[in-house]
């Protein structure tokens, strides 16, 4: 397994909820990443943010890892949930809150 995938696996093993994003949860650097953060913060779940702007290896690696070419991306229990659009859809339907219980 290549080193990037190992790093990603470790991140996903160590944290139930991981948001790969541009910026940090306190300083999101892009509209969609900000939207993703505010959804998780509104639900009140702790999550690990990974700032891809400061980690080029992860930025390209994560896109290959889950065959998802855009940032932000949310993982719960090592499973890709999707980008900010799917998060919003699931948040509005209550599905995301359920998944995070």
């Amino acid at each position: 397994m290549n080193p990037v995938n190992e790093r990603i696996n470790k991140l996903l093993d160590d944290n139930k909820v991981v948001l790969f994003m541009k910026g940090t949860q306190n300083f999101p650097m892009c509209g969609f990443s900000a939207r993703a953060c505010s959804i998780l913060q509104d639900i009140g779940v702790n999550f690990q943010d990974v700032n891809v702007l400061e980690d080029e290896e992860i930025r390209s690696g994560i896109k290959e890892y889950g065959n998802w070419p855009t940032i932000p991306q949310l993982y719960i229990n090592k499973k890709l949930v999707g980008g900010s659009d799917i998060m919003m859809e699931m948040y509005e339907s209550g599905e995301l809150q359920e998944l995070l219980k």
């Binding site: 892009c30 509209g31 969609f32 065959n67 998802w68 070419p69 855009t70 890709l80 949930v81 999707g82 980008g83 900010s84 659009d85 799917i86 859809e89």
Partner: protein, 74 residues
């Protein structure tokens, strides 16, 4: 890349589908697609299929903010 460009490309990939593309700044795009070709796919798979249509533009960064809403057309 304009909303029109996206629409044209999507209409070619998804015939007989309901498609609309919205953008205020031609940088952030919101796309709605209702298509029979999403039959049996999860939401993530539907989005992955649509994003594959723009894999080049997403890689070059020509297109970076794409919000999708997909639905299986009965």
């Amino acid at each position: 890349m304009t909303a029109k460009d996206l629409l044209t490309k999507l209409e070619k990939e998804y015939p007989q589908s309901i498609i609309n593309v919205h953008s205020e700044d031609d940088v952030h795009f919101e796309v709605y697609i209702e298509s029979i070709s999403f039959k049996g796919l999860t939401r993530v798979e539907q989005h992955q299929q649509v994003m594959k249509v723009f894999s080049e533009e997403l890689k070059t960064g020509e297109l970076h903010a794409l919000a999708l809403k997909t639905k299986e057309k009965k």
